[in-house]
């Protein structure tokens, strides 16, 4: 690939893939890309990240999102975990999503829920969300286990930190994933 004499900046390429450029700038970027194999390669490296993020199902979902996944034909199974519970959960071959309904917490006055998931054996953080969606009425957070979680450590501790006007409440659940 011939190096580009005036390469497009990665900032511009990220804005382009975010769909955040004015039409004239977007056209300019595309005209450059069509004449430049080097910048096309750079654009592809940005796109691999942005388009994977776009298609990704987040690790915590809302009830409405879950309904949409079901409507799209995804095979979903829900399993409820109580605070402090530690048990196995099987991700069958016939499933697309295994939802862990992390319940038993009072979320009626919650202002924010932080969720972290760490490897039970090493303590390494696997997932961290500072502002996880939650169902205040049902008192639950819906953790969305997906097939690619199989590449992560199987035994995980999920911790919820619930911010409320009177302080912070911490609850944990231990899930031992078993993928068929």
């Amino acid at each position: 690939v011939i190096p580009c004499a005036s390469p497009l900046s990665s900032e511009l390429l990220v804005d382009y893939w975010a769909g955040d450029l004015p039409p004239r700038d977007e056209e300019g970027v595309e005209e450059h890309l069509f004449g430049c194999a080097s910048c096309t390669a750079g654009s592809a490296r940005v796109a691999a990240i942005t388009e994977t993020l776009r298609a990704m199902i987040p690790p915590v979902v809302t009830r409405a999102a879950l309904d949409r996944f079901r409507a799209r034909g995804l095979r979903v199974y829900e399993s409820t975990f109580a605070p402090g519970e530690r048990r196995e959960a099987h991700f069958g071959r016939d499933l697309d999503l295994l939802i862990f309904r992390l319940g038993g917490v009072d979320l009626s006055r919650a202002t924010r829920v932080q969720l972290s998931m760490r490897d039970e054996a090493t303590g390494a953080t696997l997932v961290k969300l500072g502002d996880a969606p939650f169902d205040a009425e049902a008192g639950a957070v819906l953790l969305c286990c997906q097939r690619h979680f199989a590449s992560l450590p199987p035994d995980v501790v999920v911790e919820l930190r619930v911010d409320e006007p009177r302080g912070e409440a911490v609850t944990s659940y231990t899930i031992l994933h078993r993928f068929d």
């Binding site: 990665s10 900032e11 990220v14 804005d15 382009y16 893939w17 975010a18 769909g19 955040d20 595309e30 005209e31 890309l33 069509f34 004449g35 194999a37 096309t40 390669a41 654009s43 592809a44 490296r45 940005v46 796109a47 691999a48 990240i49 942005t50 388009e51 994977t52 993020l53 776009r54 990704m56 987040p58 690790p59 953080t125 696997l126 997932v127 961290k128 969300l129 500072g130 502002d131 997906q146 690619h148 979680f149 199989a150 590449s151 992560l152």
Partner: protein, 208 residues
């Protein structure tokens, strides 16, 4: 540029065959895009190789254009075939008026074809044509690895990339959510994407 009126399967096979079989022959990879277009128009020795080389050079650009505007990998693959076939036929027929601007000609063809795909909602090509070697796959990331890299970002950076791409929020909307300026949201977004790229490259290197 007039689009071919042949059946979808004929179009797909023609584009695939032209791009695949011609690649088997040696070609001067240093030829300019314009030289390739002229070689195709002359239809002499080397025309097939020139077609293959033109496909090789432009397929990734068309594919990315398709992903960006059609937001669908299958539709992007179809766009590659439809655009390349249309352009090759125009080149064969000497209808590319300015070979020096073949890149703009390709881009124009992409815009027309993508608009048509969006308006009609129809696929340009049948599924059987998707093994076309002229439409390379975009890099597929390890989703588990991406999650680990996301966990390594600071909270603000993680929020910015998830809001921007997973929730399709503009920089202005992200800025409002994070109580910052749109310019700062763009900077955070760019840095976060760059950090994810470095993290994924490092873990790929470590595992190889």
């Amino acid at each position: 540029l007039e689009w071919p009126t042949r059946s979808a399967s004929e179009i797909a096979w023609s584009a695939t065959a032209a791009c695949y079989f011609a690649r088997l022959v040696e070609l001067d990879r240093n030829a300019s895009d314009a030289q390739l277009v002229r070689a195709i128009a002359a239809s002499g020795n080397g025309a097939r190789e020139a077609e293959a080389e033109l496909c090789r050079r432009f397929a990734p650009r068309i594919r990315l254009y398709g992903l960006r505007h059609l937001r669908d990998e299958d539709l992007a693959r179809d766009l590659v075939q439809a655009v390349l076939l249309g352009v090759l036929e125009a080149a064969r027929g000497g209808r590319v008026k300015d070979p020096e601007r073949i890149d703009r000609f390709m881009l124009g063809a992409c815009r027309n074809q993508a608009t048509r795909a969006r308006e009609t909602g129809l696929r340009a090509q049948p599924l059987q044509a998707q093994h076309d070697t002229a439409a390379p796959e975009i890099e597929h990331l390890d989703l588990g690895g991406l999650m680990l890299c996301l966990a390594k970002l600071d909270e603000r950076a993680r929020q910015v990339v998830l809001l921007s791409f997973n929730e399709e929020r503009s920089a202005v909307e992200v800025a409002a959510r994070l109580q910052t300026t749109a310019g700062n949201a763009r900077v955070l977004r760019h840095r976060a994407v760059a950090a994810l790229r470095r993290c994924l490259d490092a873990s790929a290197e470590a595992s190889s």
